[in-house]
Amino acid sequence: MKNSEIVKISGLVKKFPMAGGFFTALDKIDLTFGEGEFAGFVGPSGSGKTTMLNIIGSLDTPSEGNAIVLDNDINQLSSHKAALLRRKHLGFIFQTYNLLPVYTVFENVEFPLLLLRMSASQRKKAVLDALEWVGLSDKVKSRPAQLSGGECQRVAIARAMVKKPLLVLADEPTANLDSDNSHHILKTMEKLNKDLLTTFIFATHDDKVIRYLRRKISLRDGKVTADEIVKN
């Protein structure tokens, strides 16, 4: 794999046991993602977008084929090594934000840095920087329940970006947001992608997100039907 290649997927098949048989969620996928890409899997519900992100994020494993993420073969990773890969190099953004409800905004964003055992002063600086990127410097002491949906997702972005990961996986990040908030968040992610060269891979069927993508991979029934570079 070339250095600029972050993810390389070849012959990937994912099957789930279902009613006495198997449901094929992903079927013979071959893909490569390079450093700094702003790409997304697009397609209707059930097309395999989230499953694809889960495998790239080492939360799941392929049934057949290979997924190499940052030189790590997902099939060969122990759960411990997969956790280390996520901890050091991957960031996740979820449709439902998945913020820790009892933590403040600061503590939520700080969480990945605690896992990396950074010093308190380093953590503080990194968290405040991340909150500044997403425009939430004035909400450090708020709890998720006190924030709007857009603010929650911005906290989730800050949490995903605070450790400056090489790859961010965002699953339907705007599904629960209105148009203004969606654009704000997408612009924030686009800026972070450009400033930090972080690779973003989305799973979405939201047109607002699709308009921001520079690479659009269409999935239907677990198969790649199109892989196109979008020129904005």
Binding site: R86, N98, L100, P112, L115
Partner: protein, 391 residues
Amino acid sequence: MMLSIKLAYRNLVGAGLRTWLNVFVLSFVYVLIIWHYGVIDGWNYQAKKDMREWEVGNGQYWQQNYDPYDYFTLEESHAIIPESFNIGITGGNIAPVLINQGSVYPDGRIKSMILKGIDPDQKVIALPTAALKAESEEMPVIMGRRMAKSCKLKEGDVTTIRWRDVNGTFDAKEVEVVDIFDCDVPNVDAGQIWLSIEDLREMMQAPGEATLLILGEESEIKEDIPGWEYKDLDFLMSEMDEMIKIKRIGGGFLYLVLIILAMLAIFDTQVLSIFRRQKEIGTYIAMGMTRNQVVSLFTVEGAMHAILAVIVGAVYGIPFFLWQMKVGFSMPAGTDDMGLAIAETIFPVYGIGLILVTVLLVLIITTIVSYMPARKISKMNPTEAIKGKIQ
């Protein structure tokens, strides 16, 4: 582990009322267990002290036929005091006691009782025998509060007593109650009348005899003497030790019930947490926590309830313990009749060992109880957990 502790603390404090409810239940368990055992230890300490001061002294010699549980042998269980005890008796280190069976007739009723003769000048036990030297037209006697209550007698009352002398002949006499003493040792009170040993010897026609000899602190004779058996403190207190042991076993049952209740609360909270916090668990895993770290986090969270409970328990428990040590715990009415030395008020004694063992035991059990449901996390599918799907 430090990370788990830090995160567990954040989670617990963040969870607010749910945490503090569990913590309060656990702290109540700590306080109740420590207090309950403190009362038993305080009773043990007080009872043994009172028994030594009022009844058994520093050991006793029993006439070989004496059996405190068989009143019918009392007529056979007295003898001339051996000469080897004379120095101790005259020096005030040994108090001879002569015991006989008799009856008392308060207000025309008949009541069986034990007559105990003792030297009015003795200082070996705390019994206020000096009162037996009172000037009185009738023979002076003293009795304890319990006996006076059951006979409905008060100081200054004259009543009739009846007994049998060494020849088996019944005789009777009027006696005056010159003092009613307050004592926590039923064995020197309930069913007993104390009088001068010389009076009783005369009544029984048993000059120079005694049933038992109570040894003082400075008495050094410890071996059996022909016709007399030495009874050490272990023997004399064995009944009390047994009773305390039984009380401790009963207390252990309470201990167990309390711990089970508290553990059920913790277990329930943990099981609910694992279900309710699936999304959170999935998020932890997505952010790079290993499954063991998540299991450890939930286990530490559970165990931390026990640690916070120590702090909360100390906040209200220490003032409560100190207050109890000062004012004591009033025993319920009726405990007088148990036949054991029980003060009306018991002052709890709290040992550091009891506190440490209780804290450690609750902490260990809480950790185990927290770990059991937390193990389920290691079998969770993270992709389902992230969505909050119940597994």
